[in-house]
């Protein structure tokens, strides 16, 4: 994910660059520009043409260059180039032209640009019009980088914050597409740009899952790769290039934490959470290898596990949905909530009491962790010996076949091992993740088994979503960044996690829960989730992937180029602008890998 040096193209001059071509027809969608000898147009450049239209007056046609072309006029055969170029005895004229896709016509009279009309490079106000920036509320203009012409490219925040649309989808191949880096750059702009509507940005909270490596655990550490040019670009976009500040969640009451003072600067804060390490039975140490300090361990107590109904997120595998297991799970989940009673002197631990007062086979058993939960449920569902004549408790098992019950128990048992969920549920002081403690909450689940990863994601998404549903307030916004979305909301199959993500995609916009989903293959993600993302961003794409219907929003020329995009360069599609725009974003001042972390006491600190 290392980015090359950031080199925005030098701003090209405005003014005339050529004339609209007259061979072949111009249309309201497309035209060609024959360039003047001393000017050029490159792909992604923006142009404007003014045409005198009878009755209508002057019509301005704005467009974006989709292809650049050149030919020898006068050459008939390929071998003519030698006679023209080497021998020089065949006269020919080198003609350079550019193909332009129309983005806007102003006033909105869709007529073709006139052949022979002067074409100018769109700068200043014309550029804003070509990109519809003038239609975006200045308080909603979110700069995400610079275009190929060296000027800012802005996202209409209305289409992210839920006002007119929500969610963002980021696609691209691993390693070079810089998906996660862009997501954080976006969050940093969102929380840092002074022009933005404070309603949309104040107290914003982002929940991020670190699913690969420990790359997201250095957001508070300056990077050695960050250059002065990058800093200049940040300044130009309007945000001080500072890392996230480390926040220390307080243990005494929820939401009362304050960022640890790290000296000068303000800006968004970050808190890291990781599951407890296997060996840390009593000490509760976070399970990370790269850094120890500043990372909090989290788990759920059995009481929280039952109360929140987290049992459903134990069965998130697509194969779990094919038989009766969800039925058993739902029943057990409800029963646990009805029978649960706290245990005196053991915070977080519970015991099961039949509300009717009847004594049952697991009477008095204390649930302290997953293992004891499995034991207790086993007593109720698969009793051995004489306790109840070998029959499962009717209130728990219903009329389900014994085979289904044992399948349920088998799966629950294997999920409860220490390598999976065993570490995540334990009695003791509450150690739930405090999402209000910092602007960005990074949950490090990279070291965990798939099943446990899905469990954590499901539990936290549900928590976030429920909180919003309860308050009914969409602000402050709650952003969820989820990489490898195809793992959690796959195209095929059903699971409670996928349902939750579809629900967030569909209703989250109005509730203020916004998903930034990233994936290598958009074609493998549930269409419901993908289609609800108003903002679409793509880095380098696999060639086959770029041809799929999920990238229908790209122009053919954009698709061809998407295979070649450099790290840090991306294609943006937003509803406000009808054509995809290519932009680059500067490198970030925080380390995106452990080896980028600048050692403490560096003279450039605070640059």
């Amino acid at each position: 994910m290392t980015l090359p040096p950031f080199e925005p193209r030098r701003s090209a001059e405005g003014g005339r660059v050529g004339r609209v071509a007259g061979v072949g027809q111009t249309t309201s969608q497309e035209f060609r520009v024959v360039l003047d000898g001393d000017r050029y147009l490159a792909v992604d450049d923006l142009v404007v043409v003014r045409t005198e239209v009878p009755e209508a007056g002057t019509v301005s046609t704005y467009g974006i260059v989709t292809e650049s072309e050149a030919t020898y006029e006068g050459a008939t055969f390929d071998s003519d180039v030698h006679r023209i170029g080497d021998g020089g005895f065949q006269p020919a004229e080198r003609v350079r032209s550019a193909r332009v896709a129309v983005t806007r016509v102003d006033p909105e009279i869709w007529v073709a640009a006139g052949p022979g009309e002067v074409v100018e490079r769109a700068r200043g106000l014309d550029r804003q019009r070509a990109l519809y920036v003038d239609t975006i509320d200045p308080q909603k203009r979110l700069a995400v980088g610079v275009g190929r012409d060296g000027d800012e490219i802005e996202i209409d925040l209305d289409y992210f914050d839920g006002t007119k649309g929500g969610h963002m989808s980021i696609s691209g191949v691993s390693g070079v597409a810089t998906k996660t880096t862009f997501a954080f750059f976006f969050l940093r702009m969102l929380t840092g740009l002074p022009n933005l509507d404070p309603r949309a940005t104040a107290n914003l909270r982002a929940l991020v899952f670190n699913v690969k490596g420990e790359d997201l655990l250095w957001l508070d550490r300056p990077s050695t790769k960050f250059s002065e040019e990058d800093a200049a670009t940040w300044q130009r976009l309007g945000v001080e290039p500072t890392s996230f500040r480390l926040a220390t969640p307080s243990r005494d009451g929820r939401g009362g934490s304050r960022p640890r003072d790290l000296g000068a600067g303000s800006g968004p804060t970050v808190a890291y959470w990781a599951p407890p390490a296997k060996a840390s039975r009593d000490a509760v140490l976070p399970d990370v290898s790269g850094r120890q300090e500043g990372i909090e361990a989290f788990y759920w107590t059995p009481e929280e596990f039952i109360k929140e109904g987290l049992l459903q997120f134990v069965f998130t595998d697509a194969s779990d949905q094919r038989n009766q297991i969800p039925f058993v799970e739902e029943r057990v989940r409800t029963q646990l909530q009805r029978w649960m009673q706290p245990v005196e002197g053991e915070p977080g631990a519970v015991t099961l009491v039949d509300p009717s007062g009847a004594v049952h086979s697991a009477q008095g058993e204390v649930i302290r962790d997953m293992d004891s939960l499995v034991t207790v449920l086993g007593m109720l569902l698969e009793p051995e010996g004489d306790d109840s004549d070998g029959h499962p408790h009717p209130a728990w098992a219903g009329r389900v076949q014994p085979g289904t019950i044992s399948a349920f128990m088998r799966r629950l048992q294997s999920a409860s091992s220490d390598l999976r969920l065993g570490r995540l549920v334990r009695a003791g002081v509450s150690r739930r993740i405090d999402r209000s403690a910092a602007t960005v909450t990074v949950v490090a689940i990279q070291a965990m088994h798939d099943l446990a990863q899905r469990f954590v994601v499901g539990a936290l998404l549900q928590e976030t979503f429920r909180e919003k549903e309860l308050t009914g307030q969409s602000h402050p916004l709650s952003v969820v960044v989820l990489d490898e979305l195809n793992k959690y909301a796959p195209r095929e199959g059903a699971s409670p996690l996928k349902e939750m993500l579809v629900d967030i995609a569909q209703r989250g916009r109005s509730l203020g829960v916004l998903l930034i989903g990233a994936q290598q293959s958009a074609s493998r993600v549930a269409p419901d989730v993908l289609e609800n993302a108003s903002i679409r961003v793509a880095g380098r794409l696999d060639a086959a992937e770029s041809e799929r219907a999920e990238f229908g929003w790209m122009l053919p020329s954009t698709k061809a180029r998407a295979r070649l995009l450099k790290p840090g360069t991306m294609v943006l599609s937003q509803p406000a602008v009808p054509v995809p725009v290519v932009f680059s974003f500067p490198r970030v001042p925080w380390a995106t890998r452990r080896d980028e972390v600048r050692p403490e006491g560096d003279p450039f600190k605070g640059l």
């Binding site: 021998g87 020089g88 005895f89």
Partner: protein
């Protein structure tokens, strides 16, 4: 009242005239001893690094066929006429540093020719400046020959201008100008052999880049000039004379200078001859000339548009304008 009519037949019909290349019948005398006195052997060419070479050519097009019909004097019958356009110009090959070529001295003229010496004027056609001329002839061939003559004159003037500017000029066809300019005529086809069998055999032995010795055409006549043969390329399966062209220079140029330009053409012309597969007239139709013809044809404008404009102008006429004083027969 006499009125002009545009023939409905497409201008391409009618007898095409090859009013060129044929030489006056008096030109039969040849002196093969001007350069060498003994037996002829091929001579190697020499590129003396001429800084620029201009290839001059012209093209013409019959835009429409006219008929002048005198309603007051029907017994006179229809009088033929043509509207034609011609363009002349040059491809100038600049050979210093990075060689490149440009089109220069390109002019387009439009001419209406009426037969039987009629001096009526073609009405003004917007955007197309037709000059009306009269000729005594009355069949297609004679009218076209008149246009051809005008084009050849324009080519000659163009060649002279370019030579005065210091270019070495290769003009398409026999030379029709005899001042001591560095202009050579470039004759692609061989309608006759100028040489007797012993010398003619030398032509067959030429290799690309070689020439025959100079010979003098019409040593006692009016249109004296030097001439020589050059082989441009070896044509596979060709006869001994395929791939050979004949060049001419003015006698006034002097023998020594004629040798210099002859050597130059022998060395340079094969380089600008097209490979056989890219031109049906290869290798004789030189690349700069082929490009020039294409360019000139483009300069004549769209034939259909020109014809339509003519038709509109003629249909709009009520009476033919009076003859312009300067545009009577020449």
């Amino acid at each position: 009242m006499a009125k002009l009519y545009l023939e409905s037949w497409a201008p391409g019909f009618g007898s095409p005239v090859e009013a060129d290349q044929s030489l006056p019948p008096s030109e039969v005398d040849v002196d093969p001893t001007v350069e060498v006195t003994g037996a002829w052997e091929p001579l190697p060419g020499l590129d003396d690094g001429a800084r620029s070479i201009a290839f001059v050519d012209g093209i013409r097009r019959i835009d429409a066929r006219l008929t002048l019909f005198d309603d007051d004097d029907p017994a006179n019958g229809p009088i033929p006429g043509v509207c034609a356009s011609y363009a002349v110009g040059a491809t100038v090959w600049h050979r210093e540093d990075t060689p490149y070529s440009t089109f220069e001295h390109v002019t387009v003229r439009r001419l209406a020719v009426l037969g039987r010496g009629r001096i009526e004027q073609v009405p003004h056609v917007p955007g197309l400046d037709y000059l009306t001329e009269a000729t005594e002839g009355e069949d297609d061939a004679q009218l076209t020959a008149h246009v051809q003559t005008r084009m050849r004159q324009a080519e000659g003037a163009c060649a002279t201008d370019l030579a005065r500017e210091g270019h070495f000029v290769v003009a398409d066809g026999p030379i029709n100008e005899f001042a001591p300019h560095q202009v050579i005529g470039y004759v692609k086809t061989h309608h006759r052999s100028y040489l007797a069998p012993p010398e003619a055999a030398c032509v067959g032995r030429l290799r690309p880049g070689e020439r025959t010795p100079l010979f003098r055409i019409n040593p006692l006549g009016k249109f004296q000039r030097y001439s020589w043969y050059v082989r441009l390329a070896t044509v596979p399966f060709g006869h001994a004379w395929s791939g050979v062209v004949r060049c001419e220079s003015a006698f006034a140029l002097g023998r020594e200078e004629a040798r210099v330009v002859a050597d130059r053409t022998a060395a340079i012309l094969p380089r600008v001859a097209p490979p056989l597969h890219i031109d049906p007239r290869a290798p004789q139709n030189l690349v700069p000339i082929a490009a020039l013809e294409k360019h000139l044809r483009h300069q004549l404008g769209d034939a259909a548009l020109v014809e339509r404009a003519l038709r509109a102008a003629l249909h709009a006429q009520t009476t033919l304008p009076a003859p312009r004083p300067e545009a009577t027969r020449r």
